[in-house]
């Protein structure tokens, strides 16, 4: 293996500086537009904007869409099931944060 050094790269914070279009989200997650649309209609993803061409997704959609794709493709869960699984995972993440914030007592 060889090493290459490059100059310092500045990235943009997706959550604050960028809103992803439907196409960009699909590219970033390797999901099809049909999948993403099904998840939006099921409430898994909540873009700003009314119609698909105007949709803008925030950074949190990146993580959710990748998770949704895994649930859909590898576990063959349908969109309502994906929505339920993601809600439960959100709940677990929130509880974990609360536990962690409370520290060991």
């Amino acid at each position: 293996m060889t090493n290459t050094n490059l100059q310092l790269i500045r990235g943009a914070i997706v959550e604050e500086e960028i809103h992803l279009t439907l196409e960009e989200l699909c590219q970033a997650c390797r999901a099809s537009e049909e999948h993403v649309m099904a998840w939006v209609f099921e409430g898994v993803l909540e873009p700003i904007g009314d119609a698909p061409p105007d949709w803008r997704f925030t950074g949190s959609a990146l993580h959710r869409a990748r998770l949704a794709l895994w649930l859909t493709r590898d576990l063959e869960i349908n969109p309502p099931g994906v929505a339920l699984a993601l809600d439960l995972l959100d709940e677990i993440a929130a509880l974990k944060t609360r536990l962690q914030r409370a520290g060991s007592r």
Binding site: R10, G11, I13, L75
Partner: protein, 312 residues
């Protein structure tokens, strides 16, 4: 390059049916998905599973893999025979569960895009977006930081073999970034095919666990041990925050667990987070005679019943 026994990954014999492979994958993937699992190796295990499944779930790839013979053992030195996949057509760019990055060199040499792309000259396509996770310290979010990250990129060498090249990126982590946020590095993903543009690289930020500070989004929590008299009478003391030391006034009558908020001293941003100091009252043990005497004096001085709430 080391041979990978994808059947061993699932604990299955080579004669396993497609259904058995699917079931084994699902069971293990549920167990090791990083969002679900508590296992410290979950991420690595999940990637291995994804790679093995990408090959075995696809009858074409599985047949090509099987054709190499069963004499190979995991970890054995391996070089793909020339034209090993002649007669097989791997369709599409769908690589299943994996992220499309960080596959083993074994996988890349046999099934990677470079290996397939080399067979189709004159094709143009945008490179795929890549994802990676970067752990930073809490202090980095307060001040901004530079991080070197290593990525493994498959490339075709002069002999036409696919090799993984290590590529180091020096990334500037902006001040105010929080766990779960993503940085997009435009054009730093997979190189394009032909004249296609390169994909982007997404970095997901996480925090290393900190021995003293706990983090909830943009707020930071710190336990502050206090002696009973410090909590009861109040005091002023220096407290180390991620952004340096501050002089904190603990008001008289501070109760254990009742947080003191230092507004704007959390993770910087617009608005910045807050720093919560959580007082913990620590009881000193009474060992010497004078210490015991002090406790007796307290018992006399107070009209206090600790079990008052239990009377109701």
């Amino acid at each position: 390059m080391k041979f990978k026994d994808y059947y061993e990954t699932f604990g299955l014999p080579r004669s396993a049916t497609q259904d058995e492979i699917k079931r084994a994958y699902r069971k293990l993937a549920r167990k090791y998905h990083p969002d679900v699992s508590k296992d410290p190796d979950a991420e690595a295990r999940f990637k291995e599973l994804g790679e093995a499944y990408a090959v075995l779930k696809d009858p074409e790839k599985r047949a090509a893999y099987d054709q190499m013979g069963s004499q190979w053992k995991s970890g054995q030195d391996f070089k793909p025979p020339p034209d090993w996949n002649a007669g097989f057509e791997f369709s599409g760019r769908d690589f299943g569960a994996g992220d499309g990055m960080d596959h083993s060199d074994f996988f890349e040499a046999l099934f990677g895009r470079q290996a397939r792309g080399a067979q189709r000259p004159g094709m143009h396509a945008r490179g795929e977006d890549h994802h990676a996770k970067v752990l930073i310290d809490l202090e980095d979010a307060y001040r901004g930081a530079q991080r070197s990250i290593s990525l493994r990129v498959p490339e075709v060498d002069a002999q036409g073999h696919v090799v993984l090249r290590e590529r180091r990126l020096d990334v500037s982590i902006p001040k105010g970034i929080r766990a779960g946020q993503h940085l997009r590095l435009t054009g730093q993903g997979e190189p394009g095919l032909g004249e296609g543009p390169a994909g982007d690289l997404y970095l997901e930020i996480g925090f290393n666990p900190h021995p003293r500070f706990r983090i909830d989004d943009r707020d930071v929590y710190l336990d502050l041990p206090l002696a009973p008299w410090e909590a009861a009478l109040g005091c002023s003391l220096a407290v180390a925050t991620p952004d340096g030391s501050v002089q904190l006034t603990v008001p008289a009558g501070t109760a254990a667990g009742k947080s003191l908020r230092l507004k704007g001293k959390g993770i910087p941003g617009n608005p910045p987070g807050d720093l919560y100091v959580v007082p913990k009252v620590v009881l000193p043990p009474a060992v010497s005679e004078s210490e015991k005497e002090a406790y007796r004096a307290m018992a006399k001085a107070f009209d206090f019943n600790a079990r008052e709430p239990m009377k109701r």
